[in-house]
């Protein structure tokens, strides 16, 4: 298994994928966080809600990480490297396990990078304005931790979805449509249902200030459940379908 993990890591390192998408995720998060703070007037800066808003956006890049996860698994089918991978490791469940583990590790790393960058940017901008942070350190920490867990789970969701669907373009389209259209529509129309959907549940974990959210721990558990279910489906498809 260690050989397999090392191989997966080498795959990521030897294509431009990780660098490009990891940087895009951090850039997107940082821009969202900075934009929120910069757009606030001095009175709003003193409002704890503004900081909560800004910090919760450290998880914005999770969407890019979701796509990165999809490419980690479905990309092998897109480029025809899946057959080679399974020739090396015919026990395909192990391949998926290695990819999920690698996805989670990458998601965690990018999540930490986004959280730290976001925190530094918020602190720096407040400092520049000469305004003290209107929230305590514990709240900052739990928001950043939530964003990191959220990003990690999104990476796993992406790997599982990519392995389940196999066709990269289709998987990316499905993911974007779901997040941008379906969840938005449902949370608007039927909030009691919508808050159990993956992204909305995950936003509770990131402590996005909004009504109709689940409690943070419940949101995290719901998101983890989606990741587990999708991974189980991906495992079945990976083991049984021809390459």
């Amino acid at each position: 298994m260690s050989d397999l993990l090392a191989g997966e890591w080498l795959k990521l390192r030897t294509s431009r994928l990780l660098l490009v998408m990891g940087a895009a995720a951090v850039a997107l998060s940082t821009a969202s966080v900075a934009g929120t703070v910069l757009a606030a007037g001095s009175r709003e800066l003193a409002d704890p809600g503004t900081v909560r808003d800004a910090l919760s956006l450290t998880g914005t890049g999770a969407l890019v990480v979701l796509l990165l996860g999809i490419v980690i698994s479905a990309g092998e089918h897109r480029h025809g490297t899946a057959a080679d991978t399974y020739l090396t490791t015919p026990r395909r469940g192990r391949v998926l396990a290695a990819k999920v583990a690698m996805g989670a590790a990458v998601g965690l790393a990018v999540g930490v990078a986004m959280a730290l960058t976001g925190a530094v940017v918020v602190a720096h901008l407040y400092d520049a304005e000469g305004v003290g942070l209107p929230v305590d350190g514990g709240e900052v920490a739990s928001t950043l931790l939530g964003a990191t867990v959220y990003t990690t789970l999104f990476a796993v969701l992406g790997v599982a979805l990519g392995a389940l669907v196999r066709r990269q373009v289709l998987a990316v389209s499905l993911a974007l449509t779901w997040v941008a259209v379906v969840e938005h529509a449902v949370i608007g129309l039927v909030p009691d249902v919508g808050r159990f959907f993956p992204t909305i549940a995950g936003q509770a974990l990131v402590r996005t200030p909004a009504d109709a959210m689940l409690a943070p721990h419940t949101g995290g558990a719901v998101l983890a459940l989606y990741a587990a279910l999708l991974t189980a489906g991906a495992l079945h498809v990976t083991r049984t379908r021809d390459v």
Partner: protein, 341 residues
């Protein structure tokens, strides 16, 4: 050693592989031939654990691929469907393979040299030609120094020199005692190197023979006049065809038997020859597949008619209805060579 036993692979109602049985022994080059769509690639995918057989089995050294303990050390495979990440360098592709399989990465430089990719190894694969990708695929197959080599259309995309190079590799591997199974829809590419031939059509093996034995079963004969000889052969129930150049191709019996039949009929034989193994293989391939695979070598175009017990019905009928004055409605280019009068 590779053993395929009654292998069947269905996609819905269509049987891509239909009760296919053959073996590829160690130390020999086994050619796996057939027209495009005959089921060659599907057979390889089943053999390599990439597709699950509907029934039957395909074994490598007695076990299914998925049960091999160190598959890259046991089997080296190149399939057309195997691709490369375009932004990854050739050398990195091999590093990934070595790392994932727990192979010695120090062999990478050696195999890159073997396949002639030293200069291109540090460039992204996206810029490689088809031939270079074939070479990189071969490098990957060689990395684990495997005892079984399975190559699907390895000559595709290679120039004539590259094709010859592949043939030499195949010969070397077999001489080293490895099992070599190589598919092609272009017989001429590998005819000179195969020791054993399996010809598939519609997912079924129509020929499974040692090449050396093929030539023994084919005779080319000329006689003056030709009519009585054709009659005598027909009376003896011997499979034969009259060809456009005036010779008669006889299958299923040796030269001695043809000589005896001619003598008994009082016919003067002016020429009695056995074709080369390559020529015999060529005519067998054309007869078995009913497809005119082009050949670059004029020597192997001599049309003769083999007799194979497993030959498809269509061509069998064509051969058996040929008589002294019998025009034949052929179903392929092999028949086009016959005299139509």
């Amino acid at each position: 050693m590779i053993e395929v036993r009654s292998l069947t692979k269905s996609y819905g109602d269509r049987r891509a592989v239909d009760r296919l049985t053959f073996t590829a022994p160690a130390g020999r080059v086994t050619g796996f031939l057939g027209p495009n769509g005959a089921g060659k690639t599907t057979t390889f995918r089943c053999l390599l654990g990439l597709a699950a057989p509907t029934s039957g089995e395909a074994l490598i050294d007695g076990r299914p691929y998925r049960e091999l303990t160190a598959p890259r050390r046991q089997v080296g495979a190149v399939l057309e469907s195997i691709g490369f990440h375009p932004s990854r360098r050739g050398r990195d592709h091999l590093r990934v393979l070595a790392r994932s399989a727990g192979l010695d990465g120090r062999r990478i430089d050696a195999v890159l040299t073997t396949v002639g990719l030293d200069d291109a190894a540090d460039r992204p694969v996206g810029g490689y030609s088809l031939g270079m990708k074939q070479r990189l695929g071969l490098a990957g197959a060689l990395l684990g120094d495997p005892s079984v080599v399975v190559l699907d259309e390895p000559a595709n995309g290679l120039d004539p020199e590259g094709v010859r190079w592949v043939r030499q590799l195949l010969r070397t591997w077999a001489d080293e005692g490895r099992t070599v199974l190589v598919s092609s829809h272009q017989l001429a590419e590998i005819a000179q190197v195969v020791d054993r031939v399996v010809i598939v059509r519609d997912g079924t093996a129509v020929v499974d023979e040692d090449v050396a034995a093929l030539a023994d079963q084919q005779v080319s004969v000329r006689a003056e006049p030709i009519g009585p000889l054709l009659q005598a052969l027909a009376d003896a129930g011997v499979d034969h065809r009259r060809l456009r150049d005036g010779t008669v191709a006889v299958g299923g019996v040796g030269a001695d038997e043809v000589g005896r039949i001619a003598a008994a009929a009082g016919v003067v034989v002016t020429e009695l020859t056995r074709p080369s193994a390559v020529a015999a293989l060529e005519s067998l391939f054309l007869a078995a597949t009913g497809n005119g695979a082009p050949t670059a070598d004029p020597e192997v175009t001599t049309p003769t008619r083999p007799t194979r017990p497993t030959r498809p019905t269509g061509t069998t009928e064509a051969a058996e209805t040929t008589g002294p004055a019998g025009p034949t409605a052929g179903d392929g280019p092999a028949e086009a060579e016959e005299v139509r009068s």
